[in-house]
Each structure stands twice: as C-alpha cells, then as structure tokens.
C-alpha cells in the first residue's frame, strides 16, 4: 500500500457503562488501546468482551462514559467521519443473497463516497489492494455463497481493509476457521500493524494464539478488566485461574519462547 491511513495518536474508552437496555454488562471500565499494535481481548463467554468491542466501534452507545479517538468523543463526530477512522468486523456478518466478492468489498468504501462520488480512483485502488492483500484477486467475480468458510472470512476482512481505517476492530476473526486459516488471518493482521501502521483490537478465544500475535493482552471477567499489558506479563497461571476458573500450567513455547498455556484437565 502506498498510502496508509493517518494513525491516531490515542484511542481510549473512559468510564464506560454498557448495557443492552437491561442489566449492566460493563461498569466503570477505562481502557487505553496502544496504537499501531495488536490488542487481543480474552475472557470467558459472557464476560463483556464483545460488548466492549461494540462500544469501541460505536455500535453500542455507552450509557455513561465515552470512547475517544485523538481525544475527541466518537459520538460527537459525523458517522462517515468516524467510519473513516475505525471499522469493525462483527462476529457473524451477514451477506446479501447472491452477492459477489468484489461487490461486497466495494461496499466498505461507503464512508469515502458521496452522492456524485461513487467510484473514484481511490475506491478502485483500495478495493484492488484489499483483494490482493487477502489473496482474493482471482475470486473477485465469484458469488460469496460458493466460497469456503475461510475464504468468506477473508472477504469480510478485505471489506474492512477497503474501508482504509487506521483502527480495525475484529470480533473473533478466527472462529469457524481451521488452524491453517487462523494463522493466515492472524499473519495478515500482524502484517497490517507492522507494515501499514494499523491499530488492531480483536476478541480471541485461543489464548495461545492471542499471546503469540498480540502486543497487548486484555483479560476480562464479569465486565471488568482483570489485567492488561504485555502478553508475557499478563499470561500467568494465577491470571488463568482468576479469569477462567481453571488450573493451568504456563510453559515457555519451545520455538518462540513465548509463554504457552496448558490447561490441567480435571482441575476445575
């Protein structure tokens, strides 16, 4: 990519109170996301990690508190303006019937378009870059329904790439993927932060992959951040016990030396 979207200097959530109209899910949560790095959020089901991600992506309006990019509240900006700064890959994105790969990816360009500005050179180059980065160039005219789960996930990531946002939020980008495709997706995200200055926040279930790829790890439980920081510091047997209520051993990974979490079966 020749041009990278402008990197924000700060991305924070302050004093967030989140709910879906019922009982509070997250209360008084404050989080600072390091820019140009990968942040992974881990935690048990229902701990509020997806809820937090939705609030950061401004899908969920906080009852109290605010999310700020460059110290400006995202809800105070126009929707298209903020959509040029941060994008989200939801957990189960829905594609319209019979739509082709390139058609879907093009729709990611919406925040850059206007009534008369429908297909600029930037639109065209962003879409082709997104296609080539995700290895989908040869699939561009294929209907999405004909693709495998892994390919389909890459199409959605490509759409997010076409949006050209400096901040990318992904809710479980590797679910439904086999190990090879998981690695492929995470390698791509790593490349995006290292070479294209993207700031990435993702919810992951696989603790070991989170540790391997993330620069910053956030462990959540019951709507609270239990601990956050460098994966090497965060991943301890105590943390696993506190967050997931299971016993685990932490061993150095024989290849990379990064910590590896091994649950002790029958210990819970």
């Amino acid at each position: 990519m020749q041009t990278n979207p402008k990197t924000p200097s700060t991305f924070t959530g302050q004093d967030l109170h989140l709910s879906y109209g019922g009982p509070p899910i997250v209360e008084e949560l404050t989080v600072t996301i390091p820019t140009q790095a990968i942040t992974a959020i881990i935690g048990p089901n229902g701990c509020g990690k997806s809820t937090l991600l939705k609030a950061l992506a401004r899908i969920l309006i906080p009852e109290q508190g605010k999310v700020e990019v460059n110290e400006v509240d995202i809800h105070s900006q126009s929707t298209k303006e903020i959509a040029r700064q941060l994008g989200l890959l939801p957990q189960n994105p829905r594609s319209p019937d019979g739509i082709t790969v390139s058609d879907l990816i093009q729709r990611g360009r919406y925040p850059h378009q206007g009534i008369f500005r429908q297909w600029s050179r930037e639109d065209e180059s962003s879409v082709s870059k997104a296609l080539s980065l995700t290895g989908l160039t040869n699939f561009s005219d294929r209907p999405i329904d004909e693709l495998s789960g892994g390919q389909r996930q890459r199409v959605w990531i490509a759409m997010l790439l076409a949006q050209e946002t400096p901040i990318m939020l992904l809710d479980e980008p590797t679910t439904h993927l086999d190990i090879a495709h998981q690695i492929e997706v995470l390698d791509l995200l790593k490349e995006l932060t290292e070479q294209h200055n993207r700031t990435i926040v993702m919810v992951l279930h696989d603790i070991n992959l989170a540790v391997r790829y993330a620069n910053n790890l956030i462990a959540m439980r019951d709507g609270e951040i239990k601990t956050a920081g460098k994966p090497r510091d965060v991943l301890t047997a105590q943390m696993i016990h506190d967050v997931f209520s299971i016993q685990a051993q932490i061993l150095p990974d024989p290849i990379s030396g990064s910590p590896l979490c091994i649950p002790v079966i029958g210990s819970s």
């Binding site: 992506a57 929707t79 994008g87 319209p96 019937d97 739509i99 879907l104 925040p111």
Partner: protein, 376 residues
C-alpha cells in the same frame, strides 16, 4: 363451424402470446451472453460506474416497450392501420381515430408502463431492504390497506372521484402502521415482515366483511377493482403517475447506495458510517409511496412487485442505481404486456390485467428460478 369461428381467434391469440413469451425467453438467453463488464466515468469529483449489461438490457427493454406500445395502438376490437395509429398518437389530432387512440388506447398503454415501473421499483426496494426475495408491498399489506378504503367507498356507493385518494391514503396509513408496530429500539427486517403479514390478514378480513355486508351489484365493482385493472385509464392518471415517478424514482436512485450499505446488516452498516434508522425510514417511505401511487391508479395489481425485481436480480445481480432503473423498465414492460394479453386473449371479453400478471407471472417466476438453480 360455429365453435370453430369462436375458437380460431382465441387459438391465434394464444399462439401469438406463446410466441411473445418464447421471444422473451430467447432474449433472456441472449442477455446471458453479455459479459459482466463495467464502464467507469470520472470527471473532477464526480465518478460513477455502470455495468454494461444493465445498460444493454435497459435499452433492449425500452425497445420492446416501444414495439409493444405500437402493437397496443394498432390491435383491438377495432383494428387501426399502423401508419394511421402512429400518426394519430404522435401528431395528427384530427384523424378519424383520434378518440380511440388518444382517449382509450394510448393513455391506457402509458398508465400500464408507468404503474408497472412504480410496482417493480417498490418491490425491488422492499426485497433488497428486507433481504428477502419473497417480500413485496402486496404481501406485507400495503395493497390491502389501499383496498380497504377503496372497497369501502365502492361498496358504500361513495363518490368514485375520491377513490384514488382513498387508496393512496389507505396504503400510506398501512405502511405507517406497520412501521410503528415494528418499532422496538429500531426496526428489524424480520419483525417488519411478520407485522406486515399480520396486518395484511386483518385487512383481508375487513375487506371480506365489507363485501358480504353490502349489496352484490356494488360489491362486483369492488371485486373488479381489487383484481387490478387498467380499464378506463385516462391521461390524468398517466400525469399523476408520471409526476409521482419523476419525484420518487430519482429519490430511490440516490438512496440505493444507502440501501446497499443497509443490506450488510445493522452492525456493519453502522461501522461503515450509515445512519441506519434514518436511511431505512427514507427507503421504506419511498417504496411505500411508489406502491401507494400505483395502487391508487390501477388498483392492487398483484405479482408485478414480487416477480419483476426477482427477474431483474437474476438477470443483473444485486441492487445498484442502474439495476433500479432496469427493474422499473422491466416492470413497465411486464404490466404493458400483461394488459395487452388481458385485453386481447379472450376478446371481446376483457380480463383485468391482474389476472394475467398472476397467471403468467407464476410460471415465468418458476422458469427463472429453475434457470437460476441450474446456473448454481
């Protein structure tokens, strides 16, 4: 001999209709050969891209509509020579056929085309917005809403002049009611359809109640209106439709980008920067107005809004501004063709066009579906 005399013209007409259908199918097959290429237009800050396939198919549809218009002017219980028919329609206001052409046939043709355009574009917006190919204004009760007030006026022997207004109002009130009843921290497409189907059946019951309560001779008129007919269409009707279309179709055209975004689901739509509730309301309003407009003039003609967008989607893919225009044209062609068949097939008996849209629409739909399944 006597039976043959009756049977022969009907047979001839049936064969003509069959030939027309075969021709349409042939043209569709031909259209498939067109490669999906696109043309990009850029000038200063203005840029746009069109699929060439949509352009060619739209031009083809316009040509077919023009031919059908000519046919519609010429044929009838009182055949008129082609040259005279066309001259009378276009410039010669003093010819001997002036009344038949300019008061009966021509306005009816134009009304059929414009009403078909309204129904089809309305159906396309509903289907795309709700992401369900089986949704159309007739199924979620908008046509029934128009019918309740219209049938009430007809059955109660009210002033016929108010009929279009009553129908228009009925359709809009129903659309508003569906919208309000579906609202629960936002509009969900599924809820909208379910509420719509519920309202449709309630309205159907009210219509049945009205028709059994009132004397039979008035009810017949109501039943005829309900089937959807272009009989007695006037230039005033055409003008109403044209003005409405000139406002609504461009609005819909500029809303298609937003519609394409809404199709991605609420979460994705928000993150690419769309104001989902505002955009959805605007689209539902435009689609409801298009349906209400057409129903107020020609009655609740079924199937056009359901089938034509489906056909268009199978031919050119998911919605864009160009696809919207093509769908509208295809709707014009479909209703015009259906009305010509309705008038001529069992002449001198004239069927309401709605009967034909349903009888021919069904199998045509199945054909397209089969073709689509084979392609996959």
């Amino acid at each position: 001999m006597h039976y043959l005399a009756i049977a022969t013209p009907t047979l001839q007409r049936s064969l003509t209709v069959l030939a027309g259908i075969c021709l349409t199918i042939f043209l569709i097959q031909l259209a498939d050969r067109i490669k999906p290429r696109s043309y990009t237009f850029r000038w200063k800050n203005i840029s746009s891209r069109i699929q060439l396939r949509v352009v060619w198919l739209s031009l083809g549809t316009i040509i077919v509509i023009t031919i059908l218009t000519g046919v519609g002017l010429i044929v009838g219980d009182y055949p008129i020579p082609a040259s005279k028919a066309i001259a009378t329609a276009l410039w010669d206001r003093n010819g001997e056929y002036d009344f038949i052409i300019n008061s009966l046939r021509f306005p009816r043709i134009i009304v059929a085309i414009l009403a078909g355009m309204c129904f089809a574009s309305s159906g396309l917006i509903f289907q795309s917005l709700i992401n369900n190919p089986l949704v159309s204004p007739d199924i979620i009760g908008i046509n029934s809403g128009a019918a309740v007030l219209a049938v009430a006026i007809l059955a109660a022997g009210g002033n016929i002049e108010y009929l279009p207004w009553a129908a228009f109002l009925g359709a809009l009130l129903t659309a508003a009611l569906i919208y309000l009843l579906s609202w629960k921290r936002g509009i969900s497409a599924t809820r909208l359809v379910l509420v719509g189907i519920g309202i449709n059946s309630v309205l159907g019951a009210i219509i049945t109640y009205i028709t059994i309560k009132y004397p039979i001779e008035r009810v017949v008129a109501a039943a005829r209106w309900q089937a959807g007919t272009l009989f007695g269409a006037t230039w005033d009707d055409a003008r109403t439709l044209l003005i409405g279309l000139l406002i609504l179709l461009p609005s819909a055209f500029f809303l298609t980008t937003r519609l394409r975004t809404l199709q991605l689901g609420d979460e994705t739509a928000i993150t690419v920067g769309s104001k989902i509730e505002r955009d959805r309301l605007a689209l539902l309003a435009v689609a409801s107005l298009l349906a209400a407009l057409a129903v107020s003039v020609v009655g609740p003609l079924g199937f056009v809004a359901l089938i034509v967008p489906q056909a268009a989607r199978l031919l050119v893919g998911s919605i864009t501004g160009g696809v919207l225009i093509f769908t509208a044209l295809l709707g014009g062609f479909f209703l015009l063709g259906a009305d010509l068949i309705a008038q001529r097939l069992f002449a001198p008996v004239m069927l309401p066009a709605g009967v034909i849209t349903a009888t021919f629409g069904g199998p045509y739909f199945l054909y397209l579906l089969a073709r689509y399944n084979r392609a996959n």
